[in-house]
Amino acid sequence: MSLDAAAVRRVANLARLRLDEPEVQKLQAEINGILGWIEQLQAVNTDGVEPMAGGSPVAVALPWRKDAVTDGGQADAVLRNAPDREGEYFGVPKVVE
């Protein structure tokens, strides 16, 4: 499987990365190089193998927390690092739905 330039642009769109033309070319070559190398995985017989999910080496189940309000009430701390703080809100360019 190898990517053409259009596919590189489509992926960049999905990832919200602005690419100029030289970058598209460069990434296309690099990604195809990496994908070609990854291709060797297809040689492994994985019939009937359950895919791993998560990183734990032992079986684990999701731990639950109690339903209690223990967080929030800190609008200022949430907003303090914002590049565009509009009062008690985050500001972004107007979105048309």
């Binding site: 309000v69 609008a75 048309v96």
Partner: protein, 482 residues
């Protein structure tokens, strides 16, 4: 007769499926300890997890899991003892993590079924495809600034149940009845407050049309419809639009649309156009959600009575299917009725609640939830009728007085002297006086104008200020008129 819409080429069948987002009733969010209450100040119910800060991790709220399982049980659905959370990746201003944690491949609840009741009294089963847990997004405000949208993350991370139906509905009415039934079930269960005005329940409506006997055609999804009425309107408007497209030689393309409630039409949603590659994968921050069957069984044993069961029980008590239906639509109404009927004649109680009481609520524009009369007092009124203290007519007067001041009826009877007169002496005196004053009418009555009997009753009751026992009044009049 099945529902169709007529186009130039003849009748079209409408196919509807609903994806309902129901906010889980819980104190805190699905994966953070921030509060879920409605109407708080902007960004005041936001943890760093909800705001997608670096290094923040989700921890699941066990009560949200329990609520999803309760709902699944209420939908007669399969509870999956093993389920998992996936990430749904897309960029949006009110999606701080850049992904929504949802259950894509392995939902907590599998297939189920609910029965809907239609206006003609018929019923129909609607299949449930699945129910899964997911995070809500924040809110974008577009009207606060000329060139900016403002982001409030209070809703970000609030637990939602997405309840997906099969495409089993064939009319706006069925779609409306389904949403109504779903709302009724979650409210009975206490798993969602069903408050559509506050966005606690909203529906994505999938609509397609087809000719009789055809396979499904392409469907369009109408996002975020927030009332039963709008769902019904949106189904019809969208179906009519699609019929026009097909009949003018066009093709309906799969897309996401919005329902414009003012115009009563649907329109394409620009912002969702390219969002279709969500790159789902298992969330590596969350191990699988594993349930014990014994825990599910415990939840099942502690479920409140569901509307269908309650309705059946009321019918068994002797109520008409219609009354049983009306009394069980809202959980609060049923609870009210239960108190009124407790230890009393259920049919009499039902007549009073669905009759005078509902009429009063309508007239006063009140809800059962803020009832002008307590169920206990209404019950006490029925007792006063049963023991002969009040006639039916007097009871209505007492009830009117209760609407003004919610006092025990016995107290109203006392202070206003509304007790029914059963003393035959007093009644006889009143009857005699009426007869003495109406010799001409007696002659007419005896001459065959038997319809005048009601006139004598009325005059007697009037003379007694309405307090005469009607049965005794009738009896004495019959005797004396011969």
């Amino acid at each position: 007769m099945s529902y169709t819409l007529d186009g130039d080429t003849g009748p079209w069948e409408v196919v509807v499926g609903l994806e309902v987002h129901a906010q889980v009733l819980s104190e805190s969010k699905l994966f953070s300890g921030a509060a879920t209450a409605f109407g708080a100040g902007p960004n005041s119910q936001v943890s760093f997890v909800d705001a997608g800060f670096p290094g923040m991790l989700p921890v699941i709220n066990g009560e949200c899991v329990a609520q999803a399982v309760r709902t699944g049980l209420g939908l007669n659905a399969q509870v999956n003892l093993w389920s998992r959370f996936d990430r749904k990746n897309y960029f949006y201003a009110d999606l701080p993590q850049g992904y929504q944690i949802s259950q894509f491949a392995h939902p907590i609840i599998g297939t189920g079924v609910i029965e809907i009741t239609l206006a003609d009294g018929s019923t129909k089963n609607i299949g449930i495809t699945r129910l899964h847990l997911e995070q809500d997004a924040g809110k974008s405000l577009h009207d606060q600034h000329q060139s900016k949208s403002f982001i409030d993350l209070n809703r970000s991370g609030v637990a939602l149940m997405e309840i997906v139906s099969e495409p089993d509905m064939r009319s706006p009415e069925e779609a409306g009845a389904y949403l109504t039934k779903l709302r009724q079930i979650v409210r009975y269960l206490g798993t969602c407050d069903g408050n559509m005005d506050e966005g606690s329940m909203r529906a994505d409506v999938n609509v397609s049309v087809r000719k009789a006997g055809e396979e499904f055609r392409t469907r369009c999804e109408i996002k975020n419809v927030n009332s039963v009425r709008f769902v019904m309107q949106a189904v019809e408007a969208e179906a009519r639009r699609q019929i026009e497209v097909w009949e003018s030689g066009g093709t309906v393309g799969q897309e996401t649309r919005l329902f414009d409630t003012a115009r009563g039409t649907t329109r394409s949603m620009r912002s969702k156009e390219d969002a279709h590659d969500y790159r789902y994968f298992p969330d590596p921050d969350l191990p699988p959600l594993v349930l014990e069957q014994s825990w599910v069984d415990q939840l099942k044993a502690s479920l409140p009575e569901l509307p269908d069961n309650r309705r059946a029980r009321y019918v068994a008590l002797g109520l008409s299917p219609y009354d049983a239906h009306v009394l069980t639509i809202e959980k609060e109404t049923a609870a009210f009725f239960e108190i009124v009927a407790k230890g009393r004649d259920a049919k009499v109680a039902a007549n009073w609640v669905t009759g005078d009481y509902f009429a009063a609520l309508n007239r006063l524009k009140r809800e059962v939830a803020d009832s002008p009369v307590s169920a206990e007092n209404l019950g006490a009124l029925l007792d006063l009728i049963a023991d002969g203290t009040l006639s039916g007519k007097l009871a209505k007067d007492v009830f009117e007085a209760m609407l003004e001041a919610d006092e025990p009826p016995a107290q109203i009877v006392e202070t206003r002297g509304l007790r029914q007169v059963t003393d035959t002496g007093a009644i006889e005196a009143a009857v005699d006086a009426v007869l003495a004053a109406n010799a001409d009418k007696i002659a007419q009555y005896q001459g065959g104008k038997v319809g005048l009997f009601g006139f004598f009753v009325g005059q007697t009751m009037k003379a007694m200020a309405g307090k005469g026992n009607p049965a005794l009044v009738n009896e004495l009049l019959k005797q004396k008129l011969g």
